[in-house]
Amino acid sequence: MSSLQSYLLLSALLFSIGLAGALTRRNAILVLIGIELMLNSANLNFIAFWRYGPAPAKLTGIMFAIFSISVAAAEAAVGLAIILAAYRHSKTTDLDQMNSLKG
């Protein structure tokens, strides 16, 4: 097994762990954290492909990762603010109880 392959497999594993958490947890904050984990695994792919790519001196992978980290930080701040607003509205962060749109 080559090295790039092991990094990609680790990234896929992180993505699946984040996806499992986002799909199965009931706490809205932990669902958001699962989404952060999925973004992190995408960043790991960017860096791994940059390191093993043909032109690492061009810095494209690093730039992608930096901008992706910034977007993830903005997403986390807005997401947690939305969770706080929803908590103030419904007095819970339990996603199974936030079902007022259910038909």
Binding site: S2, S3, L4, Q5, S6, Y7, L9, L10, A12, L13, L14, F15, S16, I17, G18, L19, A20, G21, L23, T24, R25, R26, N27, I29, L30, I33, E36, L37, N40, N43, L44, I47, R51, Y52, P56, A57, L59, I62, M63, A65, I66, F67, I69, S70, V71, A72, A73, A74, A76, A77, V78, L80, A81, L84, A85, K91, T93, D94, L95, D96
Partner: protein, 166 residues
């Protein structure tokens, strides 16, 4: 695949799996910082020092603290502990396992992922700053605008408006 990578991978996967599996939400965030730090160490191992340190500052420093604050502000002392997992946790786990199986199959059967390690690139922080200020200056400005909008938006959304209406 080196011993260093194996150790870091085990730490990262253990931290993130604990973050998604533990019952107490605060313990989850603490385990998550371990996972984020492991990813940062893997960046450092891949010779991306700037991204590794950014990862530590943004994720371990900021996002984890934000999550802890959000958990603290939404904490409700309940007499009975609610179930940790959603009602369709089995379906979610199966979907996640299927996604991992497909990704692993694609990675293992790809010809692009079998090449060896190229020589270590010489990347200094000065080069990254030069690139940010010349080639990527427009994305940088847009990112600044996005972060400002996100900051204001987060404050506006999370603000308690009941005080104003009194």
């Amino acid at each position: 695949m080196t011993v260093t990578f194996l150790i870091l991978a085990v730490i990262t996967v253990a931290g993130t799996a604990a973050a998604m599996g533990l019952r107490n939400a605060v313990h989850c965030v603490l385990a998550l910082t371990v996972g984020f730090a492991g990813v940062a160490a893997i960046y450092l191992q891949l010779d991306a020092q700037f991204v590794g340190l950014t990862q530590i500052m943004v994720y371990v420093g900021a996002v984890a603290i934000l999550a802890v604050f959000a958990i603290m502000m939404t904490h409700t002392p309940l007499p009975a502990k609610p179930p940790t997992y959603s009602s369709f946790w089995l379906l979610g786990s199966v979907v996640a396992a299927a996604v991992f199986a497909v990704l692993a199959w694609a990675i293992c059967s790809s010809a692009a992922s079998t090449q060896g390690l190229p020589p270590e690139p010489e990347v200094s922080v000065q080069q990254i700053g030069d690139a940010l200020m010349h080639q990527f200056v427009l994305p940088l400005e847009i990112m600044g605008l996005l972060l400002t909008a996100a900051l204001i938006g987060a404050v506006v959304i999370a603000m308690d408006r009941r005080e104003e209406t009194k």
